[in-house]
Amino acid sequence: MFDLPTRVPALDDFHAVVKQRGGRWYHACLRITRDAGLAEDAVQDALLKAWDRRDSFRQDAELDTWIHRIALNAALDLVRKRNPESVDPDQLDLHEGTAASPETQYTRQSFGNDLSGAMERLTQLERECFVLKHIEGWPLADIAERQKCTVNNAKQTLFRAVRKLRADLNDWRGEA
């Protein structure tokens, strides 16, 4: 975990946090954009925005969390502006395990490419709702606000995404 600065973060703090958490930001953005270039742009945007606004950084927040949130918003904005290019499934981190049990890790590794395909089959909105809720842990109310829809709409979109992904998961397992 990144140590919480007790002052306006300095350049060294930014260097440290980008080294420790940059991968997480990048892969989170990649899951949104499905485009490596856009994901890197989003992270760079976020870093520079955070640097410009470092005086307003709240001491009760973590620098990592703060930049992560800015990066996700930047990714969502970028993907709205451009049609993302297709992403090589190998660029996704969905099949790289570290702390998972051997069985879970094996499942992730085996299912990784299929899951990438399954994620591709989601609509952009479904993918965003799923990623923001399940992976990023955003409250549904925040997702609805960001997507400019009602909370109920965000729920329904999330339901659709989970149904599709679980159906693909079942197919992969050879289950009905």
């Binding site: 080294k19 290019e85 809720k133 549904l140 998961l169």
Partner: protein
Amino acid sequence: MMNDDTLLLYHLNDGLTNAERAEVEAALATDEVLRARLARLAADLDTLRPVEAGLPDDMLLRLKASLERAAASAAAPAKPVRRRFGWGLGFGVFAAGTLALLIGLRVLHPPVTDEAPPTIATNAAGDDSARFERSVRWYLVDASQQLAGLGALPQPERDAVLDKVLAQNRLYVAAAERAEAPALARSLRALTPVMETLGALGDSAGDATALEGGIAQLGFEMKVIQARLVLRAPDSQRVPSRTMLL
């Protein structure tokens, strides 16, 4: 019967009222099948959860370089600019600087390989690819010429020229993306913020100097892109690749 959507919201601990949560908990307490369904849902979601991977070294270096430039820029005296393009101004300068640095490194230290240099990939093979590359080169030549004359133009005409070139650049970025030439698209996209920076400059002496510098920077970067395209253009026999060396 409780549906999976309700179980999902219960599992995510979001989107249910207190009464609805209590109802789910009461059902779970007495219904073994429901507990199994919830466990299965949780396991599926766990499988669908990615674990974290690191940042590629080259990307880490680029991000750190951007930060360094931002810090260096913040240490320099602030220059007032028209807020025509918002936050993209600063980012543009750093992105362009980083691009120039990377191009410079690539020129100084070309990769050692026995393979033929990769060509820009397009959806269409052969002639279509060559036509597209020619079109980009013509655009770069034309845009360079238009930008070179910017300093002599009054503000309104300068803005008009910049708007036109910016619009053209966006079209070529989109075209490169359609042609599956992501590196070319990225190189062209990196020109945009520099152009936007120029568009935000006023008529002061300091801005005139910044304008001159920005035009020179754009000219250099456009020439580098052109050079890469020209190097590939004469040999139509090269094996197409899906990447561009930039």
